[in-house]
């Protein structure tokens, strides 16, 4: 009955079964687009800068007119006027001519470079002495040096952050087509679960997972829909799951700790759908279920909050990144661990760590610890083909 898969297989199967999924897109303004994933490559409609531009105050010249110029033997050019910054250069120059230009000014037709004002002397008769030669395009930023028309500036699948807003504004792009937010439904199940409140009856447990998982999904850029607490009743769970499947793309059911509860999640999925795996060879998080109902992804997560959080952070998040097509880098830290970790051969282990002074200090799960994750900075993965990690071994830390 149980179909246990490895951690890597779980992620592969999860994506594979939803390769058909397309969340659709929406157009967002520049003030709404951060935290969202681009649906298409963004291409520039113009050059930055839009024209050849002087980077100094001086005289726009043909560089060939200055070749050989020196303090002793200056070139002598006739001044054809002046171009200010922000003014269109309507004039042009021929050999033997120059135009006065300010920093940021548009290079006039005919000119290919600018002599800094320090190396010139304007005479009373509107001629100008040039005391230093310039090479072609010296002291000039060419049109399109920064961005060229047609250039891809942001790739499809980019998670937009504030750092992208500058270039979008610079190019006059005030709307961006982004992937629709992935909708994640969250169901808590179990007769013993009660809402978060100060005083609870003996033997009852507060509903940790609804808010815990909802906060995580919001951080991942999803819409999180909470469906509350469902009793250990197969019809009630089935109805709630059907409703969630109508409204969401992904559903997470976090069950109570009883074994009967777990089976119920499988049963409700299989009533109208299919279960692909029931158990992942990973610690913690073994009793994870994954299935499909009405073409929506359904996860049955472990009841233990830390285990549910870590599986949501890894397997579920991988599916959500896959859905939104996000291709960004996942920044990780490299560190030595401060203590040895023993681990079971044949399964992955997710170990929360504190990152301090460049070292990773592993935190060990004892039965039922819920305070642990709040103090961790991230987690490391002990590979399934290792029996543990030695003190001072170098590990990759995935930050929370």
């Amino acid at each position: 009955m149980l179909n246990v898969v490895s951690f890597d297989e779980a992620i592969r199967i999860t994506k594979n079964e939803f390769s058909f999924f397309d969340p659709g897109t929406e157009i967002l303004s520049i003030t709404e687009c951060t935290g969202r994933v681009t649906a298409k490559d963004i291409v520039s409609r113009e050059n930055i800068p839009p024209f050849d531009r002087s980077t100094v105050d001086g005289y726009a010249v043909l560089s060939s007119d200055t070749f050989g110029a020196s303090e002793g033997i200056p070139s002598m050019l006739s001044v054809k006027g002046e171009i200010l910054m922000g003014e269109e250069a309507k004039g042009f120059i021929r050999s033997g001519e120059c135009i006065k230009i300010s920093t940021g000014g548009m290079l006039p037709a005919g000119a290919d470079s600018v002599v800094m004002v320090e190396y010139t002397e304007k005479m009373i008769d509107e001629t100008c002495l040039i005391f230093k030669a310039v090479s072609p395009f010296q002291n000039v930023t060419k049109a399109g040096d920064d961005v060229k028309t047609g250039q891809k500036i942001i790739s499809k699948g980019t998670l937009l952050t504030s750092k992208h807003v500058g270039i979008l504004c610079a190019l006059g792009i005030n709307e961006v087509e982004c992937v629709r937010k992935i909708k994640v439904g969250i169901i808590s199940s179990g007769d013993e679960i009660v809402p978060v409140q100060k005083d609870i009856p003996f033997g009852k447990i507060r509903d940790i997972n609804s808010h815990f998982l909802s906060a995580l999904m919001k951080e991942k850029g999803c819409d999180a829909l909470e469906y509350g607490i469902v009793k250990d009743n197969i019809d009630e769970l089935y109805d709630t799951l059907q409703k969630a499947a109508d409204e969401c793309d992904v559903i997470m059911i976090s069950g109570g700790s009883s074994a009967g509860n777990k089976d119920m999640t499988c049963d409700v999925i299989e009533k109208n759908g299919k279960v692909y795996y029931h158990g992942i060879a990973v610690k913690p998080g073994k009793p994870t279920i994954f299935g499909k109902l009405n073409n929506k992804a359904v996860f049955g997560l472990p009841g233990h909050p830390a285990a549910a959080y870590l599986i949501a952070k890894t397997v579920v998040t991988e599916l959500i990144r896959f859905f939104s097509g996000e291709t960004g880098k996942d920044f990780t830290l490299t560190a030595e661990i401060t203590e040895s970790i023993s681990s079971n051969h044949g399964r992955e282990e997710l170990v929360p760590v504190i990152f301090e002074n460049g070292k990773a200090q592993p935190l060990f799960f004892k039965s039922g610890l819920v305070s642990l994750l709040s103090t961790a900075d991230g987690y490391i993965i002990v590979p399934r083909n290792k029996e543990g990690l030695l003190k001072n071994e170098t590990v990759t830390v995935h930050l929370f």
Copy 2:
């Protein structure tokens, strides 16, 4: 007239001048508190677990009754009933007695340990044979093992994220006192600045900085208030700045690129306040102004978007963290640089980098590049006492 300070001095002066500032606090529900900074230590009102709890199915016993028990010579105890998970243990045991208990069940008074069911045999006459000794508290999680009543679970100044939500829910804490959001006003100034739109008149520049800085401040957990574009008119700038100072805690004015513009920012601050520095020995970002008006912090930022962004990301963000009392770790990556960087002695340099395959590739500012930041993953700081960095030197990468 110019009062140029070092990068470190700038940060020190900025905080020092606002040591009096208190943003106040507000009470937020568990679903609103992520992304916010705690205003007080959060202390547990209860134990987790709330009572001594069995971690196995078996018999609750006095460990001393089992000492010496073996397959050959079992201890014989009389069974005094059963305790189920979620049920209050009303009974108690004396020496010679035991109570059947399920995983998660509450240890009855008198018992100090649990013998796993595998090492027991219940006889027809309500006696039970114990074939293996247990030590005190074996197979028991003690009350408060995870969290104790009165224990500090989250410190004042913690930026709350999803990882903290679990422990708050577990303890029934559904409201948290957080620091009020810091309000940052953003003003663009310059006759040449126009709103972000597709087509703009020749010589005009789109207002990059309003949206760019606003997006950054929102990422830093602030309320960003945009005051639009102000012409190069000292009265108009003064009126807008006064309005922003009434409504915000921090104001950023990003000027046009003209020199006259910069002086105007100083003038309007000094009309009713004080300028503490005018220039930071840092590249880029030298023409940064900092002052106080109506007891609010006012920054005059460079007109160049990348420079304005980097100063906002460093100096302004440091002030905002100081205001909210945030004490969290600032995660940085350590990497070798792929190219040498030459730098001027006597000033800090902020160099954007791409982080790829564990290496940091520096991106060099050319005049006016605005596309550069969007491709960078973060930045490194070349210290003021170094004339540059050598290829393969190890650097600290601050992520964007």
